[in-house]
């Protein structure tokens, strides 16, 4: 049970860490081969690029979970906590709606391209499967937004969502579960 909980809490984080690690390994391989043989490994470049894109879009969910997204918040500085919380909720509702729209739009486009089947240059995989990471990231991000509200509400720490420190981008490292 404990293991499943850990797996769930750090799901996107671990997937992204793996993606960045694969990216670094592929790039290392590419540099190594170029130094030794002087020729490039085309597929390694493509894999690393895809890993990067996936890490970016899945990383938005990690950013939401750890309250680390970059915002402009100076205007809230002298407001009481409950007013800031209200603004934060309005902002999150808009973001939530946009994510649903983005997911809907991109799923449609991805489904269409999967049918048409555009192949990537060296790996010969369908690019649409990589493009699908944009809507997946949006859905996961919405999930983590809801989750952070639920957790902070349950623990009575909703104020933490709008703490000056969090808003200034110095997010807590521990994640929001515990």
């Amino acid at each position: 049970m404990q293991f499943l909980k850990k797996l769930y809490v750090n799901f996107e984080t671990n997937v992204c860490v793996a993606l960045i690690a694969v990216m670094i390994v592929c790039l290392t391989l590419q540099v190594g081969v170029r130094i030794i043989t002087g020729s490039a490994v085309a597929w390694a470049e493509e894999v690393s690029r895809y890993c990067f894109i996936c890490a970016v879009y899945l990383g938005t969910a990690v950013g939401a979970q750890r309250l680390a997204h970059v915002r402009i918040t100076a205007q809230f500085m002298f407001m009481p906590v409950h007013v800031r919380l209200l603004f934060r909720m309005i902002a999150d509702v808009i973001l939530f709606a946009f994510n649903i729209f983005l997911a809907y739009l991109c799923f449609d486009i991805a489904a269409e391209s999967i049918r048409l089947g555009g192949m990537s240059a060296t790996l010969r995989i369908n690019v649409a499967y990589v493009e699908a990471v944009v809507p997946i990231g949006a859905v996961l991000m919405n999930w983590r937004i809801l989750e952070s509200y639920y957790l902070h509400w349950r623990n009575g720490t909703l104020a933490k969502l709008v703490a000056i420190e969090t808003e200034m981008g110095l997010a807590t490292q521990e994640g929001s579960l515990s």
């Binding site: 992204c16 860490v17 540099v31 890490a55 990690v62 970059v70 981008g169």
Partner: protein, 430 residues
Amino acid sequence: MSVLTVLLISMAVLFLLGLPIYAALAIAATLSLATSDILPLAVIQSSFYDGMNIFPLLAIPCFIVAGALMERGNITSQIINVVRILVGRIYGGIGITTILACAVFASITGSATSTVAAIGAIMIPAMMRNGYSPAYAGACSASGGTIGILIPPSNPMIIYAIMANVSISGMFAAGFIPGLIMAAALAVVAYVLARRKGFKADESIGAFSFIEFLKVCKASFFSLATVVIVLGSIYSGLATPVEASIVAVVWALFVGVVINRALSWRDIYDSLVEGVMLCGTITIIVGASTLFGKILTYEEAPVNLANFMIEMTRNKYAIMLLIVAMLYLLGMFVETLAMVIIVTPVLVPVLVELNIDLIHFGIIMVMANEVGLLTPPMGVNLFVASRLTGTSVERLSLTVLPYIGVMTLVILLVVFCPTIATFMPRLLGF
């Protein structure tokens, strides 16, 4: 309402509501697309994907991971030891050591925040132990840390070069001399302030002995070599920026695991998480701003802005000073990389029209961003230093003023004397 009005007003409202910057840009763009028929909605998906499908961008998370590994793998503390033995015995020596150590660390990392975090974590306690005031220690580390983005490698430079379509290596080459000037200028401020406040030299070091210096150098050999390896791979032209970032990661792993035996699996995992966080919260802005920029370009906004500015004055120095003033103002509210991503595409047509060297301007932009890191309410370096010293951000924002003043002088110097920035790239043929 015109498309542009919808775009700019909704952007302003969304920024004020406190949406993440990337989302504000994307939603504003979506609204203006939905209320007009200039471009199909599918452009949203393609910008998000293609905007990110740029190979040189991969260097940014790699440099972040490398910096995190170096910090955890004791490379930082060994670099500090070497600098300390050189300048520690000067009056206010620990402050000067801090600034110069920041400059050395800047040449292996691309981020200002990681520079102040890495150097400050060691130097701030050292200063406070030796009777330096917490405010002095914080201001000194916060401003020294800003050199992190001026001396290459530098994440804002990578973003700027991609956005302005100039050579990344050219930008890296251009940052070196201004970086040294900036470090020297800040060290002078640290010295003068220490003199006035009566903060003494580092008493733990005795008279300079060359033998001891060599001993320390030998003990820190592999950490010092990091500088040579990272800068060397950039300047020799042997490696592209992405390759240089990979060299930095591999070398940091090698020194941290094999030589210093300081890196655990946990440390490596945490370093990778730092890279992930940057991807998910900052690099994503590139995708959103690609979309935003497409609409701006479609509506010819940058060209109109260029014409508007040229109508005011054709003097390129006046325009550059105007832009620097604007960047100072924006820097108070917007995070560094986000600002470069948003502002660059808008400004480039103005610069091209006025025949301003894009690399020269890029350096000025990065330097103006350094000041942005020190000005509240959004001054990230102040937050890190405030956390490390336990001094309030308000107090620190006052004590960094002398540093900001000197930084402004250096910026003016570079504005009016472009050779400082363009000499190295010309020499190296970028």
